[in-house]
């Protein structure tokens, strides 16, 4: 997957490049808004990571211009500002996703990967190792044992299973499972994950739900 990273802050750009490259993405970096537009129009990128504050041309206007020229490349917006509601402004301008700074790199990688997955229809039956989840019958089971999950726990498990093998950041979990657009500043996610882990991992091997310190959680079959 080819990704264009538009970010003028050199250190941030280099961190993002290395994190994405480590996950097998092909990365081009562009520090200026006007140059980035030329590159985005000319190149064949599968996704664009776009900072809002840029020299040359700001991210939102770049995005609008790109859409006006008929390019549908999915865009993940980054922002440290937040003067007006940039999340809403960004999504209205045609961004697929929005990540406020300071972000967790693993979260950024997970979201860039999700950019490429947008078109796929979601599966109704999910499986990770011997854990299965049926979104139609609202049933989760492992090794013949059906779990008694609350609605929230079910959504959390479904989200982690849909992203299985990838790190899910706390903020993505908060957005996807709780539908909050703010960081609640509590350890709500950690407490829920702990309870979910007690249900799906206690008494089973291997342990599927793992903590990635400082980054989030990952559900995966192989250790």
């Amino acid at each position: 997957m080819r990704v264009l990273v538009v970010e003028d802050e050199i250190k941030t750009a280099s961190l993002v490049r290395h994190a994405l490259e480590a996950e097998g993405f092909l990365v081009s970096v562009c520090p200026r808004g006007d140059d980035a537009l030329t590159a985005a129009v000319a190149g064949t990128f599968d996704g664009i990571v776009l900072d809002i504050m840029l020299p040359g041309r700001d991210g939102l206007s770049l995005l609008r211009e790109l859409r006006a020229q008929g390019h549908a490349t999915p865009v993940l917006l980054l922002s440290a500002r937040g003067k007006v509601d940039e999340r809403i402004a960004g999504l209205n301008a045609g961004a697929a996703d929005y990540l406020p700074k300071p972000f967790v790199l693993a979260e950024l990688v997970a979201r860039v990967r999700a950019l490429g997955r947008r078109a796929e229809a979601p599966a109704t039956e999910l499986r990770v190792a011997d854990l299965t989840l049926d979104t139609i019958f609202h049933r989760a089971q492992r090794g013949g044992k059906v779990f008694d999950l609350t609605a929230r726990e079910f959504r959390l498990l479904e989200y982690l299973m849909r992203c299985s093998g990838q790190i899910c950041g706390r903020m993505s979990i908060i957005e996807q499972v709780w539908d909050y657009d703010f960081d609640p500043g509590t350890n709500l996610v950690d407490v829920y994950v702990r309870r979910l882990r007690e249900k799906i991992d206690d008494g089973f091997e291997p342990k599927l739900l793992q903590t990635v310190r400082g980054a989030g959680y990952v559900l995966k079959a192989a250790p």
């Binding site: 941030t12 972000f103 509590t186 407490v191 310190r213 400082g214």
Partner: protein, 352 residues
């Protein structure tokens, strides 16, 4: 015209009126005396006439003088009273609105002018503080992003030394906390600057409360704190769904954090007339009355000797207060050391 001139003129007027009343009284008295001059002895007549004069002309003149003086003072001081009433309405957020001036150039008008320029200067410095916080919280985000990214990369590369790994992870936790504080500050700074737009719509508050109680139950579980929903009346308010959820979660988080192991949290939502009243009570150690007015201050931590172990960014209740005010509601914190602590939120219900 200055107040001195005005007062002098009014007083001259009052005195003239009194003098006129007194002289007309005296004139009538003397005329009557001349008609009956022949009847009585001169000494007795003089005594009677004097007392009559005092009674009929002197007393009314004194009363008139008193009333006139009272009216005079009232007139002279009424601009001061108006100014006092106007000044009482001033608070941090309407500093830039000038007090109304009479425009007649007197001492009070001049005072109002000076006071207005003072509040404008004060407003400008408040503005600068707000802008500073706003810029500071934005400027902090880029270095925080880099720091966090560097540490994450270092951890992902997997340092061989377990102790080093532990130290890096601990640094990452602290950066996480710093990021939360910066987030909270940014939100409050933006709110101060009037840059946060609420997405107002009719919201079923009772549904949000049930949802929050479910989350609070999970949050409280590790400390064996029991959460009970005492009442939950169907209530619709005009509000921003996300902000109201943030409010409820902040209050619940606070009730859990400052509780004691094995304690209780009681939540109730009732509708009283045009008001929704939410009460959240916890069995924490409580707070001395002197400190209670300060709980909504930013970074206020209560009795630090008790609470230093409590995690959090110290902005939860400030954010809660902002959300309630932005919904034209009222939030109160009532606590007694050793007794129950109750946070009460009142919000206007939606009108159809």
């Amino acid at each position: 015209m200055t107040i001195r001139t005005r007062l002098t003129l009014w007083f001259a007027g009052v005195l003239t009126v009194s003098l006129l009343v007194m002289s007309s009284g005296t004139f009538l008295e003397i005329a009557e005396q001349l008609r009956h001059a022949h009847r009585q002895s001169p000494a007795a007549r003089a005594a009677r006439e004097t007392s009559e004069m005092i009674l009929e002309a002197g007393l009314p003149a004194v009363v008139l003088g008193l009333l006139g003086g009272w009216w005079l003072m009232r007139r002279a001081l009424s601009p001061v009273a108006r100014l006092t009433r106007a000044m009482e309405q001033i608070h941090e957020r309407n500093l830039a609105e000038p007090l109304p001036r009479s425009g007649n150039g007197d001492e009070i008008d001049r005072l109002t002018e000076v006071f207005n320029s003072l509040t404008v200067r004060l407003d400008a410095s408040f503005q600068r503080i707000h802008e500073f916080t706003l810029h500071a919280s934005h400027e902090l985000k880029t270095p925080l992003t880099i720091l966090r990214g560097e540490l994450e990369t270092a951890l992902r590369d997997g340092p061989a030394d377990a102790a080093l790994k532990h130290r890096l992870a601990s640094q990452l936790d602290e950066i996480e906390r710093l990021a939360k504080i910066v987030d909270g500050l940014t939100l409050l700074a933006r709110a101060d600057a009037g840059q946060v737009e609420l997405q107002m719509e009719p919201v079923r508050l009772d549904e949000l409360v049930r949802e929050c109680v479910a989350d609070a139950t999970i949050l409280a579980h590790p400390q064996a704190v029991a959460v009970r929903l005492e009442a939950c009346a169907e209530t619709t308010v005009q509000g921003d769904r996300h902000r109201l959820r943030q409010l409820l979660l902040n209050l619940a988080d606070n009730a859990v954090k400052y509780n004691q192991p094995g304690g209780r949290i009681q939540v109730s939502l009732v509708q009283e007339g045009a008001e929704a009243r939410l009460e959240m009570t916890n069995t924490g150690p409580g707070l001395a009355p002197a400190l209670q007015t300060r709980v909504f201050e930013r970074f206020f931590r209560g009795d630090t000797s008790h609470n230093h172990a409590v995690e959090g960014c110290g902005l939860g209740l400030s954010i809660a207060q902002w959300i309630v005010r932005a919904h034209r509601g009222e939030i109160r914190f009532v606590s007694q050391p050793g007794q129950l602590t109750t946070v009460t939120v009142r919000l206007p219900v939606a009108t159809n």
